[in-house]
Symmetry: C2
Subunit: 368 residues, 2 copies
């Protein structure tokens, strides 16, 4: 993964990400049942080895904190005195300070005991990309990742007249698919080296499901089409240049369940040869919590003001980085603000049309 590409996937800091990604937490809470069940069936470790957990692409760790409590509880139920480590991984520029503060109970009010106060639990951060090996060979008992591996390691091309592969031309989309399938193999082979025999992965990744649904595309309106349309409006209004228009390209690809499963279905694949087996796979749609809340409160303004910042939390850097770096910073901020304000006005005008349902493919993988 190139450093410069990596830099562009920055998130906004200090808990902003977690607070605005309520939906992400819903997904993780659902996956937690699977995780706890898997842990209960795992082989007992030899003495002197910690039960090593990793969260790949953890951001500030906020959305997975409750799951980690349950996971730690499940390990301790079988082995009360087993040392446990949790390694939170993300790109180097991630806000690890917020992650450590959250785990130590130093941010915001909480009635729960801080995760970091659990006896014999050791928490680490790693700034190593999940496209590389993050942990030593045969050391990982349980790897987890949620809503992270749709970020591919590099953009094979810019998407000329859209912002995401879902709206790209066929030729563009095939380049993204090729990159994404290569990346998936790279990710799995790195995890295969890290996992102990009997160790498991539980991954909840964005996908295109069996019905063709994907993030923000479960009804007639498509969220990425909205992004593209508002970005195109800025081009037409002369606010941004043609180059800036084209450069807004999400470094993402949503695989289908078939694509997730492919390396496992071929016994001769490098992934199968490395000992990885697909134990479970299913897709799930998590209803957009903001749209659901709107069905009750029916206040279009409130909905728009809650909904668009969520989109902004993970999309802003893509648009901000598309702008010419020679523009003064305040000019860039103004363009980006106008972009999201226009989107927000759109949502306020037709609130029933907008929703960002999450569409995930959950895979549970074991290393033989």
């Amino acid at each position: 993964m190139s450093a410069t590409d990596g830099q562009k996937i920055a998130m906004r800091g200090a808990g902003y990400y977690s607070a605005n990604t309520v939906g992400a937490k819903y997904v993780i809470d659902k996956v937690a049942d699977l995780v706890v069940d898997a842990v209960a069936r795992m082989p007992r470790l030899a003495n002197g080895h910690p039960f090593a957990i990793a969260d790949f692409g953890a951001a500030d760790g906020g959305t997975s904190m409750d799951m980690m409590r349950r996971l730690v509880g499940a390990v301790r139920e079988t082995e009360p005195h087993r040392a446990i480590s949790i390694t939170y991984t993300d790109l180097p520029h991630n806000d690890f300070s917020t992650l450590f503060r959250l785990s130590q109970g130093l941010l915001g009010p909480s009635t729960d005991m801080p995760l970091a106060d659990t006896p014999a639990l050791y928490i680490f951060g790693s700034g190593t990309s999940f496209y590389r090996q993050v942990l030593p060979d045969n050391s990982l008992s349980f790897g987890f990742s949620a809503t992270a591996m749709h970020w591919i390691s590099k953009r094979p091309c810019m998407i000329a007249d859209h912002v995401q592969a879902v709206g790209a031309s066929n030729a563009e989309r095939e380049q993204f698919r090729t990159q994404a399938l290569r990346d998936w193999e790279t990710i799995l082979l790195a995890r295969a080296r890290e996992l102990r025999s009997g160790g498991r992965l539980a991954l909840a990744n964005f996908c295109i499901d069996e019905e063709g649904h994907y993030l923000g595309h479960t009804t007639a309106v498509d969220m990425f089409d909205c992004f593209a349309r508002h970005w195109r409006d800025l081009l037409r209004a002369g606010r941004i240049s043609e180059t800036e228009y084209v450069n807004a390209t999400f470094q993402q690809f949503y695989k289908t369940p078939q694509e997730f499963a492919a390396p496992f279905r071929d016994p001769a694949s490098s992934v199968s040869q490395a000992g990885l087996r697909l134990e479970k796979m299913f897709t799930m749609v998590t209803p957009c919590p903001y749209a659901e809340a709107f069905r009750t409160h029916r206040n279009a303004q409130d909905f728009a003001r809650a909904y668009v910042p969520t989109l902004r939390s993970w999309s802003e850097t893509v648009f901000a980085n598309a702008l010419d770096s020679s523009r003064p910073a305040n000019e860039r901020s103004a363009i980006i603000d106008d972009f999201y304000n226009a989107y927000e006005a759109d949502v306020a005008r037709a609130p029933d049309e907008h929703r960002m349902d999450y569409v995930h493919c959950v895979t549970q993988i074991v290393k033989l």
Copy 2:
């Protein structure tokens, strides 16, 4: 260690610390010989265990990077394929992103291969204070710490008419000493749990040496007296209040070699009972690189402009946090700027009087 106390020991970010602490690197380079020698004599690990290294209170990791290269080289000389982990620890608010970027070669030009590109080397951060156990029991092969453990876990009192324990009243100083000795035991017992049998610590800590020398006090002029005098000038000029004057109290204590050695000299102490033994101890004075450079270039302005920012890098938060939080931010900045500007003018006027020689006590400790 209380969170709020911890917050006050913040450093300025993005490589500022390393770039301005040339002296710290000199110390570590000298200690590296000791470290490499110790590693060569360490017992071979069982298969499947990484050689685990930790840097306690690592800041951005910049000053110890070359030593880490040598240490990794020394391990690989004996065991070419041994997996190695390095855990960089500091308080949660530490700039771990800069640390990861530095190790991955993403900051500044360097002709060296990035440390993180070493095969089978795994780099982690930990936001757990070194007053707690950071790593699992019996997992640590080599622990290192430089110029970090003079920060005590809490301030037992404010120092009424000075800024550091070296200039405190006897009664105040005894309170600081009691806290520091208790902290030293806490640190050692936590490390005793983490270390493998045969594992070692190499610690370079600020001290008061056999001649009564300490940081910034190796000639007639005392650096902490200078801080205190300039702070008192602000009180006399009515710029700061009496409370603000008193609140500027470094949460630090410099122990003597005897105090460092005491827990090891008593076979009944909890530290001795935990299996720790003091193998080596010596003090060393590292000449202030800025003062040494001045002896050649003789440009007083240049010296003052290089020297005072170094002091500022580790002292600023103490003075900034002493100011009443109800003051507007720009007013606080102006006071702090004036404070260091006055110090700088002082240095420029009498450059031969100022130098911040480092005075360290180096200890090498083994766990039986």
